[in-house]
Symmetry: C2
Subunit: 267 residues, 2 copies
Amino acid sequence: MFKAIATRESTTDIPRHPELPIRDDRPSGSMATALAGERAMAQCTHCPQRHHACVASCVDDHSLPRLTTVVQTWRSVRRGEYLFRAGDAFQNVYAVRSGSFKTVVMQWNGRDHVTGFHHAGETIGLDGICTNHHPSDAVALEDSTVCVIPFHALEALCREVRSLQQYVHRLFSAEIVRESGMMVMLADMSAEQRLASFLLNFASRMQSHGYSGTDLRLRMTRAEIGSYLGMTLETVSRTFSRLQQDRLISVKGKQVTLTDKDRLDRL
Amino acid sequence: MFKAIATRESTTDIPRHPELPIRDDRPSGSMATALAGERAMAQCTHCPQRHHACVASCVDDHSLPRLTTVVQTWRSVRRGEYLFRAGDAFQNVYAVRSGSFKTVVMQWNGRDHVTGFHHAGETIGLDGICTNHHPSDAVALEDSTVCVIPFHALEALCREVRSLQQYVHRLFSAEIVRESGMMVMLADMSAEQRLASFLLNFASRMQSHGYSGTDLRLRMTRAEIGSYLGMTLETVSRTFSRLQQDRLISVKGKQVTLTDKDRLDRL
DNA sequence: CGATCTGTTGACACTGCTCAATAGGAGTGG
DNA sequence: CCACTCCTATTGAGCAGTGTCAACAGATCG
């Protein structure tokens, strides 16, 4: 079924193992500096996200060994399983190595609300700090792996490595800005505009990880997209259909191709 | 006009000067530890927010003098004036000493969106860190004063004072959680529920600062509330009227009394 | 005291929600 | 491999909640 509109690059469907770089075409001069042997170090020095978007990306080679004493373990989480649950004691933040997650809060009426989708290189769990408990569930949308980062250890290292401290502060700040953007979107944009924004944002994040920026494989359901965007799953489905009819995208279930990004952006 | 429903306590209308505690009935044993003489120290040790909700609240008396080397100045901002503008280079974060602010981002269509209201003890500007530029305008809703906190100096002190570092991290995290809550509200709640939540939240923040938790003086316009809550000013106005008709609140312009918080909460 | 900003209310249109029926895919076990 | 079930997605019909446009009244300020 999906073959009809299979992506030119089939990378999206390669089963990924954390030991392997997600793609091979990333800048690789970096690997030259990797020191083999020491196991803990290998975790960050060999990480596909090393020079990309992880806490490791801000640490110079001199301090990297110290980071690897903080980030000693990673976890793999099967599709549908919880990375953590709302109410769990906050201990760690998590950097997504591979795969993707959704974060979900339960609201007053007992229904769920998806507050975010998180892909490789992104950090989950920062919202647990202020109460010492995670306010949300984090659920894997596909088989995924994360680095486990004990937050107290990260804080300690931040007191010593200024570049890491600044990185963490920017991480916090970026999440605040992201959520502000969501607020604007939810408050002022039509269903069509919200879905278009969502798709463009998703595509650009995929592209920045070396995937196609036009052929997307959505890992989440219409209901999850709707929850995230503040609309019902029916409206999501209808809006997909309308955008397809207008030849801005082409949809086959979870496989979406953005055929006219400019017009999507101008909606 | 406002006399008709004047608040039992008239504190809301006292013109406030930054040198004076906003109210006199706050816990005051604290003042005993204040050291007179040194000007810089006096700023934090004598601050009305000292034991309340500012960066100072987490620092023990031993480290307080060092904080005062970071927070050396404050600024007063008249109603309608800008604390900073979108695009300004990010240098400082600001702790509100007295008064209140709104933060406003400009959106794609050229219209404004209010992303937050900020009262005494709250911190403004954290969103500027990740890009080194403020993404939003901050405008005083009334004559206000803020402590100017040079962020690089704060970062430096955070590397030395662990309690301060943790406080700052909690501050970031709390802002993320606040915005998640807004997202849920905007995505899933009716206009009536949003306005009720807004009023209850506003009341509880006022109450935690020693003001009445039922008699509110809103400093913002209907349009600003509407922008914040994702509805038009007309809907805000109509919803105020409806809640009044249902005897949950009583409204006279910007003066609002919450007459039945329980039912407001259960909407 | 007039000019301007702010708030209230009405009429009407329209977006998006609810309820409902149906079809398509994915996973499971015989 | 097929039959069965469950989950997901699509589409339609009708309606409710909000937005839009407009008129007017009440505050506020120089």
